[in-house]
């Protein structure tokens, strides 16, 4: 598969207003590539640099050192910024602060209107995007009548309407209730599986990260793990060291193993765990 996003030795520093203060290094020497059709979960505790990493993907931030390529375009080329943003859509944490219009369908149309698309085509793409996230029936509602999860799905539809190759989501579920979290995750999974949209999903919920086909762990501005969920969550000690949790079942397996019971590594789902427990008890 084609490499859609490439980070090559990227470092990023925030400059302070005054000259005396040292610039704060947020990212340090990051090399990462994301293939088309990937579903990547990015994990890290607060201040690890995971949001900064995400903002590099659609040229909100440019690296201090190194290069970021998106679909072959260098993100530091300012004249191509809108090309990049069309390819990589970004969804933020607070759904309230990213909806612009007073009607759902008008909001979904916002990006296309900005891009100067013909009005008949806007209509088609807006309807298609709303159907994809399951919010078509709500197209004439006002955003403040919707639940958090619904608003976040509208925000996703607003990005989908641009037909991007990749969607980056910066903790989209952090402010949602469990119901809303499930809705959003389900929407993303179906997009990734049915349409092949690349998803970069920043989260601190481990049970969400498990659903990805690749997990990247960021700590102190560096990538400390990058593998399948199974492999990443096998190393429970390392994750705990950087202040992250593991899914409950993985934790249980870990504790059992520590207590001297023969139990396999990297258990991610309840079903798996139950099967292994039965085996352990029966045998």
């Amino acid at each position: 598969m084609k490499k859609l996003i490439q980070f090559k030795q990227v470092s990023f520093e925030y400059n302070h207003e005054s000259e005396e203060e040292e610039p704060v290094a947020v990212l340090h020497d990051i090399t990462l590539s994301i293939k088309e059709g990937d579903f990547v979960a990015v994990l890290g505790h607060n201040g690890s640099g995971k949001s900064t990493l995400a903002k590099h993907i659609n040229a909100i931030l440019q690296p201090t050192e190194g290069v970021v390529w998106v679909d072959g375009i260098d993100t530091s080329k300012e004249e191509l910024v809108f090309e990049i943003r069309q390819q990589v859509g970004m969804v933020f944490q607070n759904p309230d602060n990213q909806l612009v219009a007073t009607v759902v369908e008008e909001d979904v149309a916002f990006a296309l209107e900005n891009l100067g698309v013909e009005s008949t085509e806007i209509r088609e793409r807006v309807d298609a995007a709303l159907q994809q996230v399951g919010m078509y029936e709500f197209r004439e509602h006002s955003p403040h009548q919707l639940s958090g999860g619904q608003k976040q799905r509208v925000a996703i539809a607003g990005i989908l309407a641009m037909q991007p190759k990749c969607i980056v989501l910066d903790e989209p579920t952090a402010m949602l209730d469990p119901q809303g979290r499930r809705e959003v995750l389900k929407t993303l999974l179906s997009l990734n599986r049915e349409k092949g949209t690349t998803v970069v999903f920043i989260t601190h919920f481990m049970d969400e990260a498990v659903q990805a086909n690749r997990v990247v762990v960021v700590d102190g501005g560096q990538i400390i793990a990058d593998d399948t969920p199974k492999a990443v969550f096998s190393d429970v000690e390392q994750l705990k060291k950087v202040g992250l949790d593991v899914p409950q079942v993985t934790e249980l397996a870990y504790e059992l193993r520590k207590a001297g019971i023969d139990f396999p590594n990297g258990i991610l789902s309840v079903e798996e765990c139950v099967a292994e427990l039965q085996k352990a008890l029966g045998g």
Partner: protein
């Protein structure tokens, strides 16, 4: 409690009045106001009141709501009426001490009351039958010739849209902050004016801080959706004038002109 405030007081519907192009509607309301202030004979006023009544019923707006919209301007109506009755010179009907009432005064008072009432009802009909988004759109389109003199028409319309979008959000937030401050022992309901004004400070400051934070995030989200001002922007819903829009526009304008022309033949009320 704060949630009950309705903005723009829009009554969704599918009547002819609702479906009329918002640009035409705005212009016709302007025409209406101008007519209202030129006309000065009873027959024309009768026609205008008839016109308003017909519009209210075709738009299916409850009469109660229409009358309610007059409530806030009741003091203004009374004030104008009193001023006119007591301070206009002319044929004196009644005198008591320095107070005197003239025939012309009464006539002018009646005229002004009819004018103000019709003005408010006419203007409210616009907001009752047009969604805020259609209104903003129409204003943007109507003002677009001003772009030539570098008036930021698109920016203004965008500001209106965002304001409308965030009013409910900020009201909700105010509610939350008020509860949070009350939980910390803030007293918002007792004391004199100054004390109450001071009690608002701990509500307004967090509200402002959060509004700025929201603004920053929204700006970022808008940039991510390729927003770069009004240039080269298209719209999903384009305003298109249909034949029926034109027919209504011509018919209503003709009606205004007839009303105005009646001034020539029918003796003025004042």
């Amino acid at each position: 409690m704060l949630k009950d405030i309705s903005i723009g007081q829009f009554f969704p519907g599918k009547s002819i009045v609702h479906r009329l192009d918002p640009r035409i509607k705005i212009l016709l309301v302007f025409g209406f106001i101008i007519t209202l202030f030129i006309v000065r004979n009873l027959v024309s006023f009768g026609l205008i009141i008839l016109f308003l009544t017909v519009t209210v019923f075709t738009a299916k707006i409850p009469v109660k709501t229409v009358l309610k919209s007059l409530k806030p301007i009741l003091p203004l109506i009374l004030f104008t009426a009193i001023l006119n009755i007591f301070f206009i010179d002319g044929h004196v009907l009644f005198r008591w001490g320095w107070i005197r009432i003239t025939e012309d005064g009464i006539r002018l008072a009646v005229l002004m009351i009819i004018r103000i009432v019709c003005l408010i009802i006419g203007a409210s009909l616009l907001t009752y039958t047009t969604s805020p988004i259609a209104l903003t759109d129409a204003i943007e389109r109507l003002l677009s010739p001003l772009k030539k003199i570098h008036f930021p028409v698109h920016e203004m319309a965008m500001m209106m849209t965002i304001a409308l979008r965030f009013i409910p959000t900020l009201i909700e937030e105010t509610d939350k902050i008020m509860s949070a401050q009350k939980a910390r022992g803030a007293d918002l309901e007792t004391g004199g004016l100054m004390k109450r004004a001071k009690a608002l400070v701990p509500i307004l400051i967090p509200l402002f801080v959060s509004a700025f934070r929201r603004a920053e995030e929204l700006a970022l989200a808008m940039e991510c959706r390729c927003y770069r001002g009004g240039e080269g922007r298209t719209r999903m819903k384009q305003l298109k004038l249909t034949v029926s829009d034109w027919v209504i526009a011509v018919f209503v304008t003709a009606f205004y002109i007839v009303g105005i022309l009646m001034n020539l033949w029918i003796p003025a009320l004042f």
